[in-house]
């Protein structure tokens, strides 16, 4: 049995004027970390809300842990953990009070499932008498995760848990997710950060309400068939203009400190290109073939 099955879910807002999800289908296997990767406005949050029974889809079918998201609303609400994108705990309650509150409404105690949250909770325990609103971004997310975990959910929904969190905390957060996976909890996590995709077992790339592809991170990279080059020179701005006007260029994106370029013909003469750039006044030209990242795949797939 899959942890989550989504079949052809469609969702619109404003009486059909704004399309949020456009026939989305995928499934999440039991015990895996499934990443929903896409930019803001891709429809990730809508999808989360449909799966957590908060919103009703216009059409399509979805089930979580074998329960229909419409018919079995109550059963689903008992066995899932949900951490919304916006901080949703009581800001004027302390860390401890929040945790106790959520343990109680899930009809359990902090003690009972302490082993699940222990690794995370020890990090915020020194601040347990601090009000949640006064915590730093990373701390807030850790607390929210504790609250979402306190009842040992079967499926965990994390909507952009690392947005607005510093890089160190992000790393820690993902290592916690790996540990939760060991406990047998299935995790659906969304993120706009492509670099986090590699930490998932399976990912779906989503844009404008459409799923572009579903695969393992490696599978997605392997399915990238073209040769990708990273090109640098001392005048990056001019380099973009020159490469985009070069007739052999297929695509050229600025990517950190270099440009990621694909060519119409994979057997492009790099020597010729190098000379051409030199004659345009570029110096310190570096052209290297690289393996694509998830982001390269996303950019290639999106049109």
């Amino acid at each position: 049995m899959n942890a989550i099955n989504v079949e052809n879910i469609t969702m619109t807002y404003n009486k059909g004027k704004v399309k949020a999800l456009n026939g989305v289908s995928f499934s999440v296997k039991k015990g895996e970390i499934f990443g929903l990767i896409g930019p803001d406005g891709a429809g990730k949050t809508s999808l989360f809300r449909i799966l957590t029974t908060l919103l009703l889809a216009d059409s399509g079918y979805a089930e979580v842990a074998g329960f229909d998201v419409v018919r079995d609303m109550k059963s689903i609400r008992k066995i899932v953990g949900y951490m919304p994108g916006k901080f949703s705990l009581y800001q004027d309650l302390t860390v401890e009070e929040n945790l106790k509150f959520f343990a109680t409404i899930f009809k359990t105690t902090v003690k009972e499932n302490y082993h699940l949250i222990k690794e995370i909770y020890v990090q915020i325990e020194p601040f347990k008498d601090r009000r949640a609103g006064k915590l730093s971004g990373g701390m807030k997310q850790k607390l929210a995760l504790c609250c979402a975990l306190i009842h040992k959910p079967e499926v965990l929904f994390l909507d952009e848990p690392t947005t607005g969190v510093d890089p160190v905390s992000r790393k820690e957060f993902w290592s916690m997710l790996r540990n939760l996976k060991k406990e047998g909890i299935s995790i659906l996590v969304s993120t706009p950060y492509m670099d986090e995709a590699n930490l998932c077992d399976n990912i779906a790339l989503i844009k404008d309400g459409n799923i572009l592809t579903v695969n393992t991170p490696n599978g997605i990279v392997e399915s990238y068939k073209e040769k990708l080059y990273s090109i640098k020179s001392q005048n990056m701005y001019q380099l973009i203009l020159d490469l985009r006007s070069y007739e052999e260029t297929k695509k050229c994106f600025a990517f950190g400190e270099s440009l990621h370029v694909t060519f119409k013909n994979d057997l492009v003469d790099l020597e010729l290109l190098n000379n051409k750039l030199k004659s345009n006044g570029h110096e310190n030209i570096e052209i290297t073939e690289i393996t694509p990242s998830i982001e390269d795949c996303f950019l290639a797939l999106e049109d």
Binding site: T53, L55, R77, Y82, K86, S88, L89, D92, I105, K107
Partner: protein, 368 residues
């Protein structure tokens, strides 16, 4: 039960940690009692009057002495001519001018008819009428003295007795009114934002994705406010007794019971508003327009319901405070018991059921 308890604890913490609001909620009743008790009184005390005595005889002097002796009036000045009257009014100090005709006593004794003119400043109509009424009663008093001596053949003697509030103290009427208004203000307005706040701060989103019980959740929101309001009832009663010596002729227990009922009505109204609105601001203004204004204007607190046009009287029937004021006045001033007030009590009970029903019904188990 454990779940219900943790909701109440949480709600109480929200209130206790919002020190400013808490201070306002506990302070307002006391402030209002002071305001209505000392400043906003409808009684007319120490009105300055001017007298134009064209006769200056025994009769007019006796009447003037009566005015001087009365605590509602203070003779400010004697005027010399008719033209002084307007000047006196324009100076703004005079509320009433009394003009005696020439040969007042002679006319009174010989032709049985003498004239006094009362001119009052009616720029505030209530004060104007009240002052004229007081003055008339003083003059009638003098007339009664005369007629008693004269032994007239036919005589109708009117004897007034003002029951329950013989001194016509306005504090008797304002305490029930203030109680009604304050309880409504605090309960309805404060609770009206509580559920919306959970929606606005997103906490509702996590709550919904949990096996929480919406009924317990809604009920628990009411509990701390009910407790807080009962504290307010106590402080209002205490200060009314200490400062204005308002009698509590009926059962104190019944006052608390009826207040509890009224508070519940107000809280459930707040909850209903909270459930049907989407932002704290809308909820606030809705409970303000929906309850505050009708309470002030229609409940009989400031204006007697009997004087309202029929449609307004009908609307005033659906204002909960109307019934609460009738009940509290009945208990405190007339000393009535539940057997006389069961109808009003029943109406409030029905309102409570109605508001709670709508609240439960309108509570959305999904996001909108």
């Amino acid at each position: 039960m454990k779940e219900f308890w943790i909701y109440i604890v949480k709600e109480t913490l929200h209130i206790l940690r919002d020190r400013k609001s808490l201070g306002i909620m506990l302070g307002i009743p006391i402030m209002q009692i002071f305001l209505f008790g000392f400043a906003l009184t409808t009684e007319v005390k120490n009105s300055q009057i001017a007298i134009l005595d064209n006769s200056k005889d025994l009769a007019t002097r006796t009447i003037i002495e009566k005015f001087e002796a009365n605590r509602y009036f203070e003779v400010n000045k004697s005027l010399k001519s008719i033209s002084d009257i307007e000047k006196a009014f324009k100076s703004g100090k005079i509320k009433l001018a009394i003009v005696f005709q020439n040969n007042f006593r002679d006319n009174l004794l010989h032709s049985n008819k003498a004239q006094i003119q009362l001119i009052s400043d009616a720029s505030d109509p209530n004060t104007g009428t009240t002052v004229v009424n007081y003055a008339t009663s003083i003059i009638n008093d003098y007339q009664n003295q005369l007629t008693q001596q004269a032994n007239l053949p036919y005589q109708i003697k009117v004897e007034n007795r003002m029951l329950y509030n013989p001194q016509l103290l306005s504090s008797y009427t304002f305490v029930p009114g203030v109680m009604g208004m304050i309880l409504l203000l605090i309960c309805a307005m404060m609770t009206s934002v509580t559920i919306v706040r959970e929606k606005e701060l997103n906490t509702m989103e996590v709550l919904l994705v949990s096996p929480f019980n919406p009924y317990l959740f809604i009920m628990s929101k009411a509990v701390p406010y009910v407790v807080l309001s009962l504290i307010n009832v106590t402080s209002i009663l205490y200060f009314s007794k200490i400062l204005f010596d308002i009698p509590i002729n009926g059962s104190l227990l019944l006052i608390y019971f009826e207040s509890f009922l009224f508070i519940s009505v107000a809280v459930s109204f707040g909850l209903m508003v909270s459930n049907v609105t989407s932002s704290q601001q809308i909820a606030m203004s809705l409970s303000q327009v929906g309850l505050m204004m009708p309470t002030l204007l229609l409940s009989g607190f400031l204006f007697p319901r009997e004087n309202m046009p029929l449609p307004m009287q009908l609307i005033s029937n659906i204002v909960p405070t109307t019934w609460f004021i009738i009940i509290i006045k009945g208990i405190m001033i007339k000393g009535l018991g539940l057997q006389m007030l069961w109808k009003e009590t029943l109406i409030m009970l029905l309102m409570l059921v109605f508001f709670l029903f709508i609240s439960f019904k309108k509570f959305s188990i999904r996001l909108k």
